[in-house]
């Protein structure tokens, strides 16, 4: 009988003491958390995509509350979230231009000539260990093993026929695919930019002709025809100056290789 009594007393007392110590400790060791931090955290998209450059939404919320980060970094939430965060923090909202991912390569399996038949692990980094950094003859080409597709949390990136394609309606511009691409092919472009050459091959035109059915050959036709001098050929490949482009789409029409993508259709 005494054993039972002792058991109850000892465990009860231990529990009570620990409870009291913890209750006291929570007062003594209380850390002030900025109430705005929680409000900001609530307003964020909560995808923990890391597009803001901070470790997760909590990290970004803490940085915003501390005044170390601007209000418009949440790319997944976009302008609506930026406005909410700005309201919580009581500062003017300077919404960031929405960015989307873009893959400047059109080298699908039936378009770009293969270098060898790759059958190793399904991982672009592994495929890059073999000669030429690509299983296609074009060393600039997308490998198409889907590291970007796996990195995308928004189902916006898909490898189709050996080349990654962005679903612009789903892309939030977090940049996870940009970091995941071992060849640094994927890049972020402003969503308002409707024209982009879908090739990054810097080889001379004759060489490109041999290895890809659509690759940019640097013929300069787009450069000559552009009314705004926005598109220029440098290193044998056409590039668009976003600040000058008037989005007319004329270059896409005149390109003999039809390699300039026009999203405004």
């Amino acid at each position: 009988m005494t054993t039972i009594l002792y058991s109850i007393l000892v465990l009860g007392a231990l529990g009570a003491i620990f409870g009291a110590v913890l209750a006291y400790a929570s007062k003594v060791f209380h850390v002030e958390v900025d109430p705005r931090q929680e409000a900001v955290r609530e307003a964020l998209a909560g995808a923990n995509c890391g597009g803001c450059g901070y470790p997760g939404c909590d990290g970004y919320a803490a940085a915003v509350a501390a005044g170390e980060a601007p209000c418009n970094k949440c790319v997944a939430g976009g302008a609506a979230t930026a406005a909410k965060v700005a309201e919580i923090m009581g500062v003017a909202n300077d919404a960031a231009e929405k960015m989307v991912a873009f893959v400047p390569c059109s080298g699908a399996h039936d378009i770009a000539e293969p270098r060898f038949n790759y059958s190793g692990p399904v991982d672009c980094r592994a495929a890059m260990l073999f000669g030429g950094k690509s299983s296609k003859l074009c060393t600039f080409a997308c490998i198409g093993l889907g590291n970007c597709e796996r990195a995308c949390q928004f189902d916006a990136m898909h490898v189709e026929n050996g080349v990654a394609k962005v679903d612009r309606s789903k892309c939030v511009g977090c940049g996870a695919c940009v970091d995941a691409c071992p060849k640094s092919i994927v890049k972020l472009i402003p969503e308002s930019q409707k024209i982009m050459p879908a090739c990054r091959n810097q080889d001379k035109g004759a060489q490109v002709m041999k290895i890809c059915k659509v690759g940019c050959i640097g013929c300069m036709k787009c450069q000559r025809e552009c009314p705004a001098d926005a598109i220029v050929v440098t290193n044998n490949v056409a590039t668009v100056d976003v600040s000058k482009c008037v989005q007319c789409g004329h270059c896409a029409d005149v390109c003999p290789r039809h390699i300039i993508e026009y999203f405004g259709k």
């Binding site: 054993t3 002792y6 058991s7 000892v10 465990l11 231990l14 529990g15 620990f18 409870g19 110590v21 913890l22 400790a25 929570s26 003594v28 060791f29 209380h30 850390v31 190793g120 692990p121 991982d123 980094r125 592994a126």
Partner: protein, 195 residues
């Protein structure tokens, strides 16, 4: 005395490694080992909590439970002590050592229900260790855990590039490699240090 402590330490790290030969703490071992960074964080947190838990549980056992003849309550009482201790340590670190708190991060509360921590304090009682021996056993047991989880995380980072059969994708290949690693540690088993 010193040789005794050395033998306890080596025993806890290599010969009777908590994960590979006693199979305690397998849950965080498999859950937190996909990256070397997180594995190191988890390992550090375990070393920290195991050392503290050993010290406090030894005091509770020797000065409260044994004199009252309540040794049969050890498991219950130890769970209580560990749960309270982890909470307390978390609050203390958050206030006093924020850098350590951010380093250990979410791993600290996760350890509350880690069987390796409960295992180490129960083994202390079973082996009739004194206070210093208990603390050494706790810390080195944690170091053994850390060694195992960091080794395993490095292996897993490499497995990503390995060409294994598709049916082993994900968890199965993990368990196979954990088994092989445990087998390697079996090489230490049965060794005796200093008689």
């Amino acid at each position: 005395m010193l040789t005794n402590i050395l033998s306890i330490a080596l025993g806890a790290i290599l010969i009777n490694n908590f994960i590979f030969s006693q199979f305690l703490g397998c849950c965080p071992f498999l859950g937190c080992s996909s990256k070397v960074d997180t594995a190191t964080g988890m390992g550090l947190a375990v070393v920290f909590v195991m050392g503290l838990a050993s010290a406090i549980c030894w005091v509770v056992d020797t000065y409260i439970l044994v004199p009252l003849g309540l040794d049969f309550l050890e498991t219950l009482a130890f769970i209580l002590v560990i749960a309270a201790l982890v909470q307390f340590v978390e609050m203390f670190l958050k206030k006093m050592v924020p850098s350590l708190y951010t380093a250990l991060g979410i791993y600290l509360p996760l350890i509350t229900t880690n069987c390796a921590v409960l295992g180490v304090v129960l083994l202390n009682v079973q082996n009739h260790y004194n206070f210093i021996e208990s603390v050494v056993y706790g810390i080195t047991g944690g170091l053994g855990f850390m060694l195992a989880i960091v080794l395993f995380a490095s292996v897993r980072e490499r497995i990503q590039f390995a060409d294994y059969p598709e049916c082993f994708e994900g968890f199965p290949i993990c368990l196979v490699s954990a088994g092989l690693l445990a087998l390697a540690f079996m090489g230490f088993s049965g060794m005796q240090i200093f008689g």
